[in-house]
Symmetry: C2
Subunit: 552 residues, 2 copies
């Protein structure tokens, strides 16, 4: 052997060792992965290659792979694919974590105390901003008022978003900053609450009216956005979520994601849906972006809003609200506008995701999809977001044109009493109708709508299979015919979410060739009771073969 070849031999050993370093076997796990169709595969080990992809799944009794350099003991823990949250607001989660959270308050008085305490703890903040209040949960029976904020904080402007983001509660100082007076008119698609017997604003702004105050809020600076994004990423990982469909990405949010990507700090996978045609074109140009940063970011399409939410009576109904006789909700787009926006996106092969809560909104969007499917053929994966209240007559329409139902199980448990009030007992047959919609052939993708709800997938799984809340109420489940199987629920939180974002084959399942995104938990979701499911602890979260969260 010449000296050169001897040298090459040494090089080869170095290279081979280097190559093999990244081939890691995590053994002794109770592994579960579920296909889009609900087929379960169980395994006991997983081999990850140096690109962070799954090289091989090892089944019980199968040969253990020999050529791996690292072995880790999974200690018998349950391994699942990383969850995919098919509907969340990434920057909302992060910025929300930096502001006051009122979701745990159970009364107006508790909220007032929390606002005072937050203001005291943040004396330099020019505005006191928060979110998460819910007058239904407080048992208030009405919206809160500006005076009730003034009582605890008269000197600094206060802006508190309702839990569903469809209303804002402000104090008198904020009204002043926004120049809102009795003369201010309700904008189209929005409403300002008024004091009894007068035009004076009472302190709450619904839907399109929110912007009247929202526009004077100081915008987060880029560094605030960076901080918020890192916070959001931690929150998702801590709950076992490794990929998110970001519903309504602003240009600023996109640039925040890219900054993280450019610096190697983007670990979460984000499927983005732009907040407007203008944002979509500025972000992506004439076509969706490619997958960026090793399948961590893509601008898939656009998010549109057909209506508002049920809680604030913005959802568009076929018949009037049971608890507000003459009111049908507010369409946020005309039929023509909806079709124009959908066409504009579809011409560029962008995916279209439309928020539709009320039965009339769902019917409108279904109709638009049916029409546009003639012109825009191929694999479009039209998404309806929420699809909360669907006229039973319209459910079959979900099975056509590849429409995806992007639904949030926890909304059912949070909303059920409110939904009964808004609609009455007899109009709930198509409410949160997961099983019926899926039975028509519509792929399900489950999400949280965070920060509207928490990013707790196990609570979602428990709701999905039981239609009961954390207290086990109502006994036997609310409209229990609409539960889905455990397998279907897990699929909707993993492979289904990937399919809904054109990410199948990249992540969502633990199969050879897909990204090694997985979690280790302490509970088997195919065997646990709903309450055990809710108590599940995420022990570790991995993305692309890299550990990004550890509970310890």
């Amino acid at each position: 052997m010449t000296r050169i070849l001897a040298g090459l031999g040494a090089l080869a050993i170095a290279l081979a060792a280097n190559q093999a370093q990244a081939d890691t076997l995590i053994d002794n796990v109770n592994g579960i992965t579920v296909s889009e169709d609900g087929t379960v595969v169980r395994f006991t080990g997983i081999v990850i290659d140096d690109d962070g992809r799954v090289r091989e799944i090892v089944k019980r009794g199968g040969d253990r792979p020999k050529n791996v350099d690292f072995r880790e003991d999974g200690k018998g823990r349950v391994m699942l694919p990383g969850f995919i949250d098919a509907h969340a607001h990434v920057m909302g989660v992060g910025l929300g974590a930096l502001t006051l959270d009122l979701q745990e308050t159970n009364s107006l008085a508790e909220a007032q105390a929390a606002i005072r305490a937050f203001a005291d703890a943040n004396p330099s903040r020019p505005w006191i901003i928060g979110r998460g209040w819910n007058q239904e949960k407080w048992g208030l029976g009405r919206f809160p008022t500006a005076s009730e904020l003034d009582a605890v904080l008269p000197d600094r402007p206060v802006f508190m978003e309702r839990v569903d983001g469809h209303a804002a509660w402000v104090n008198t100082e904020a009204l002043k900053r926004a120049s809102i007076t009795a003369a201010t008119k309700d904008p189209v698609g929005g409403r300002i609450t008024r004091k009894a017997g007068s035009r004076d604003p009472e302190g709450v702004f619904v839907d399109a009216a929110i912007e009247l105050v929202g526009k004077v809020l100081p915008s987060p600076r880029p560094e605030d956005n960076d901080l918020a994004f890192r916070k959001a990423q931690q929150i998702f990982f801590a709950d076992g979520i490794t990929a998110v469909a970001d519903m309504g990405t602003s240009v600023e949010a996109w640039q925040t994601f890219r900054r993280a990507g450019d610096l190697g700090a983007l670990k979460l996978r984000i499927m983005s849906y732009a907040d407007s045609i203008a944002s979509m074109e500025l972000i992506a140009g004439p076509r969706p972006t490619p997958w960026l940063y090793e399948d961590r970011l893509r601008l898939n399409g656009i998010k549109l809003y057909m209506d508002g939410a049920l809680g604030s009576r913005g959802a568009l109904l076929k018949e009037s609200y049971a608890d507000e006789g003459s009111h049908f909700g507010l369409p946020l787009l005309s039929s023509a506008q909806l079709r124009n926006l959908m066409s504009k996106a579809s011409m560029g092969e962008f995916q279209v995701a439309v928020h539709a809560i009320g039965d009339a909104a769902n019917a409108e969007v279904l109709g638009a999809i049916e029409e546009l499917s003639e012109a825009y053929k191929g694999d479009r994966r039209w998404r309806i977001e929420h699809a909360q209240i669907v006229d039973p007559q319209d459910i079959a329409r979900f099975g056509k044109h590849g429409i995806i139902a992007s639904m949030q199980p926890v909304h059912q448990t949070s909303d059920r009493l409110m939904a009964e009030a808004r609609l009455g007992e007899n109009r709930l047959d198509g409410a949160y109708a997961w099983r019926s919609i899926a039975a028509q052939g519509a792929p399900l993708a489950f999400g949280s709508d965070a920060p509207v709800e928490r990013t707790d997938v196990f609570a979602g799984l428990a709701a999905a299979i039981s239609r009961t809340d954390a207290n086990g109420d109502p006994f036997g489940g609310w409209h229990p015919e609409e539960v889905v199987t455990r397998e279907a629920a897990i699929a909707a939180y993993t492979a289904g979410g990937a399919y809904a974002g054109f990410a199948e084959g990249r992540f969502g399942k633990l199969v050879a060739g897909e990204r090694a995104d997985f979690i280790l938990v302490d509970t088997d979701p195919l065997l646990a009771s709903p309450s055990e499911l809710r108590a599940t602890k995420v022990i570790e979260t991995w993305v692309g073969g890299e550990k990004v969260y550890s509970a310890n």
Copy 2:
């Protein structure tokens, strides 16, 4: 040797071969590279590694490297580092190439004929858009008028930018679209030409007034921008330019660059300077971006405008215009605004590049740099763009605080008659004063200001060393004491441009470790006459070891 080691040996040979595939020697060249300080290194071969970097420079009589897999014969051609255009407008070059170019027209009549022909050739374009006219070159002695456009194109709106971008010439239909009437006032920092003895607009809009019509122009769609970018890239490569400082990058332009980068189509290296604080923050966030796409894109900082141009009498002078007695030009920023914007950028470690043409503008910017250098220490590389007319008393100030003079040699030859008219013979001692400014220690970076001038570096080199134009005029050179050496001129178009954009060590020189960006040409710029320099042919252009242009 075990079977495994034997296997590894085979692997090593395969890997080594693979590795070596990209090690390419281009031999038999007349290679020249110049340092920032003008030191010339000559070489006869270059070895490029598989990352597209220079591995080794081979000098005459030195050992030829043995372990290369590919050898190319340079056929004795001259090899130079790829040129760096330190001041250009990338999208302007590309979009300009898609619109009508009037730069070659020598009279109003020629321009009219060209506009008619272009309109006929593009019957579906709603607006006829172009640039490049110069009433000085036409010998018109006045601005052209709307009527002169109406005469050839009455039915479609016409918008023609002046060669320097500081004025726009429109027809009556365009005035109508923009609702410009006798009642329209001149905006601050701008001027509308008026018909003699009336307030009626005459058809030309200067500086800040351009936007009055500009705002009704249809914006290019993302796909137009993509096409324009690809066109621009071709234009730069054909002229041997491999890197550009993009002066005034809009968010749309940045996104166009990123789209190209994401798709692997970004070959040109771009050092970006945002067109506003808002763009800078949206593009980069709180700090300059990292170098992206293997040193092909970075948001370095911000471009500010202190004044306009000399041709349109927008340049801010210490004494009034010789050919318009009471006029001093127009400051585009107040002293306080300039300092505020510079501070805002500097706080985030962004680089500041300020356009300053007139002597008063240069003095103002120098003063601001002197003040801000107290607060913002470290390696700031403050850039003054153009620095065309500098009060001789102020020239010494360029040598302090690391100020970079970013100048465009061809402007001197294009502007000399106009500059004499604007300033008179006695105020030209600090005009285009390359040598004097460099002698004070200010690093020079040369550019084209394309599309204001062509991207012809050899014309720039010829002007830089001779102060004569393509006709050899004026004999002996215009203020010939301000020529620079060939070495200094080449440095200012290569290493100097890299230094001015914080890119030294990455590209700009052909030395081991830097990117293999080079050109092959048919003329030795250290030996050729000015007319030979102007006739130089770029035969091939390479970026990062990849051939991106070939004349054949």
